[in-house]
C-alpha cells in the first residue's frame, strides 16, 4: 500500500513537481491569537458554497425551469424522488447559512482591518462574491414558482425599475419583458445555474489565490508583538484538521435544520390571484427593504424609493472601497472610525432585519 502511494506520488512529482506544493503546505502557518476564531468563517463559507454546487447539480437533474412545470417538478422532487426532500431542504438552508457565514466573515475582516494593504483586492473580490451570492439568492428564490416568490420577485424587480434612466431597461432585462412571467423564470434559471456560477467560480479562484499568495492576515495588535511572541500553528495538518472538524459540525447543523425544519414549497404562483399577506424578501434583503418603508413617498423632487436605492448604492460603494480610503489602517495605525462604521452597519442591519421579520 505504502509503496503504491509512494510510487504514484513520485510518478506525478516527476512530471509536475508536486514537491513545490508540499513545501508550500509545510511552510504555510496560521497566526494564533485571541481572535483566531474568525479565520474559520471564510472556510465555512467555502464549504457551504461547495454544498450548494453539489445539491444544486442534484436538483438540476429533476428540476424543470418553466412556468407550467417548475412548481410541479419541485413537488415531484420532494414527494417522489428518494431523499429529494432532503436535498432540496439542504439547498435552501445552506443558501441562507452561506450568506450568514459570508456576512460574519466580512464583518470580522472589517473589524480586524484585515483588508488593509496589501489585501485590498482580497476584500474587493470578497465583496463581489457576496453580491454574487445575493444574486444567487434572489434568482434562486423565484425558481420554485410559488406565490411568495412570485410576488417577492415582482416587488424586487419593480424596485430596480424605479432607478432613474437605467431602471426601466434593467427591469425589462431582468424580467424578460414588462411583467414577471414564465420568461422571467427562464432568465432567472439561466442566471442561477450558468451565469452566476461561472462568474462566481472565477472570482472565488482569484480570492483564494490571493489568500494563498499573501498568507493569513495578522491583527495589528499581534503584528506589534516581538517576533518571538508571535505564536503560529502549521496550516497542515493542525489548522486544516480544525477546519475539517468545523465543516463536519456545519454539515450536522445543516442536516438537523433540513430534517427538522424542512423548507416549505407553498402554493403555486397564479398571476391572477391577489398577493397573499406576509410577502417578505429573503432576510438578507430585509434591512434595505424595511428602510424603504420608512422613506416618505416624495422627497424633494425625487421618489422616496429612488432616494433609498441611491443611498444604499452609495453606501455599498463606500463600503466596497474601504481599503482604498482607510489609509490609517494600511499604515498600521488604529482607525476607530472604521469600528464605528462597522458597528453602526451591524446594529442597523440587525435592528431593521428584526423589525422587518416581526412586522
Amino acid at each position: 500500500m505504502k509503496t503504491l502511494w509512494n510510487r504514484t506520488f513520485t510518478w506525478i512529482d516527476e512530471r509536475v513537481q508536486l514537491s513545490d506544493v508540499m513545501h508550500f503546505l509545510e511552510k504555510k502557518s496560521v497566526p494564533v491569537h485571541s481572535h483566531s476564531v474568525w479565520y474559520y468563517f471564510g472556510g465555512v463559507s467555502l464549504f457551504l458554497f461547495i454544498i450548494q454546487v453539489v445539491t444544486g447539480i442534484l436538483l438540476l437533474l429533476y428540476y424543470k425551469g418553466s412556468e407550467e412545470l417548475a412548481f410541479e417538478s419541485i413537488q415531484f422532487i420532494m414527494a417522489k424522488v428518494e431523499f429529494g426532500w432532503l436535498i432540496r431542504s439542504i439547498h435552501s438552508w445552506a443558501a441562507n447559512l452561506f450568506i450568514l457565514s459570508a456576512f460574519i466573515h466580512m464583518f470580522s475582516v472589517l473589524f480586524e482591518k484585515a483588508y488593509r494593504k496589501p489585501r485590498e483586492l482580497t476584500w474587493l473580490s470578497g465583496m463581489i462574491l457576496l453580491f454574487l451570492g445575493m444574486g444567487f439568492g434572489f434568482s434562486g428564490y423565484l425558481l420554485p414558482w410559488n406565490e411568495v416568490s412570485f410576488f417577492a420577485t415582482k416587488v424586487g424587480t419593480d424596485i430596480a425599475g424605479v432607478l432613474p434612466v437605467v431602471g426601466e431597461p434593467l427591469m425589462v432585462f431582468l424580467r424578460g419583458g414588462e411583467d414577471v412571467t414564465g420568461a422571467t423564470l427562464s432568465r432567472f434559471f439561466g442566471f442561477h445555474v450558468a451565469v452566476l456560477p461561472g462568474i462566481f467560480t472565477v472570482v472565488l479562484g482569484l480570492h483564494l489565490l490571493l489568500v494563498q499568495r499573501q498568507g493569513m492576515s495578522k491583527p495589528l495588535s499581534y503584528e506589534r508583538l516581538p517576533a518571538t511572541d508571535q505564536k503560529t500553528m502549521p496550516f497542515f495538518p493542525n489548522f486544516m484538521l480544525r477546519d475539517l472538524l468545523l465543516w463536519l459540525l456545519v454539515l450536522n447543523l445543516l442536516a438537523i435544520l433540513a430534517v427538522f425544519f424542512p423548507w416549505e414549497l407553498g402554493v403555486k404562483a397564479d398571476q391572477f390571484a391577489p398577493a397573499p399577506a406576509g410577502i417578505k424578501p429573503e432576510w438578507y434583503f430585509m434591512f434595505m427593504f424595511q428602510t424603504l418603508k420608512y422613506i416618505p413617498g416624495e422627497l424633494w423632487f425625487l421618489e422616496g424609493e429612488v432616494v433609498g436605492i441611491l443611498l444604499f448604492s452609495l453606501a455599498g460603494v463606500v463600503w466596497m472601497f474601504i481599503p482604498f480610503w482607510d489609509k490609517k489602517s494600511s499604515r498600521g495605525e488604529e482607525n476607530r472610525f472604521i469600528n464605528y462604521i462597522g458597528l453602526f452597519a451591524l446594529i442597523y442591519i440587525i435592528i431593521l432585519t428584526t423589525i422587518g421579520w416581526l412586522s
Partner: protein, 152 residues
C-alpha cells in the same frame, strides 16, 4: 514656423492616422461582436392579441359589496360592485410595487397585502404607500352583461 515641426508633422499625422484606423477598427469590431449579444438580451415584444374589452359576467350574479379579479388579456383587473349597486373596474396592479390587490369585504376597501396599501372603491389611495390611484377601466352594462373595456 520652424523647420523641425514642419518636418515632424507628416510623420505624426501618418502615425495618428494609423492609430485611429486601428483604434476605430477595434471599436467597430467590438461593436459588431457585442451589438448582437446585447440586442439578443432585450426581450422581443410579444405579438399578443391586444384585448380591448372582456365580458366579466352577469350583473344579476354579482353581489353588492364585492370584488373579484377578472382576466383582461394578460393583466388582472379588479371589478368591484358598490353597496349602491354600481359596478367599477380598476387595474388590479398596485401602483406601489406591482403586487396584485384584493377586495376586503370587512373594511370595504381594495387592499394590497404586500405593504398594506388601501384604495377606496373609486380607486383613490386612502392609506399606505401607493403613490397613485389605480388605473380605471370603463364598465359598460348591456342588458345584463357586464363588459369591461380599456379607457381609450
Amino acid at each position: 514656423m520652424d523647420t523641425p515641426t514642419t518636418l515632424d508633422q507628416p510623420q505624426h499625422s501618418k502615425r495618428d492616422f494609423l492609430k485611429y484606423l486601428l483604434g476605430g477598427g477595434i471599436l467597430a469590431w467590438l461593436g459588431a461582436v457585442f451589438y448582437p449579444v446585447f440586442a439578443y438580451l432585450k426581450p422581443p415584444k410579444q405579438g399578443d392579441v391586444e384585448v380591448t374589452s372582456v365580458k366579466a359576467g352577469k350583473l344579476s350574479e354579482i353581489e353588492k359589496e364585492s370584488g373579484v379579479i377578472v382576466r383582461f388579456g394578460n393583466k388582472p383587473v379588479m371589478m368591484v360592485r358598490t353597496a349602491e349597486g354600481e359596478v367599477r373596474a380598476f387595474s388590479a396592479t398596485c401602483t406601489h410595487l406591482d403586487c396584485t390587490v384584493q377586495f376586503r369585504k370587512d373594511t370595504g376597501v381594495i387592499w394590497c397585502a404586500c405593504h398594506n396599501g388601501k384604495y377606496d372603491l373609486n380607486g383613490r389611495v386612502v392609506g399606505g404607500p401607493p403613490p397613485r390611484p389605480l388605473d380605471e377601466y370603463r364598465v359598460i352594462i348591456q342588458a345584463d352583461e357586464v363588459i369591461i373595456s380599456s379607457r381609450t
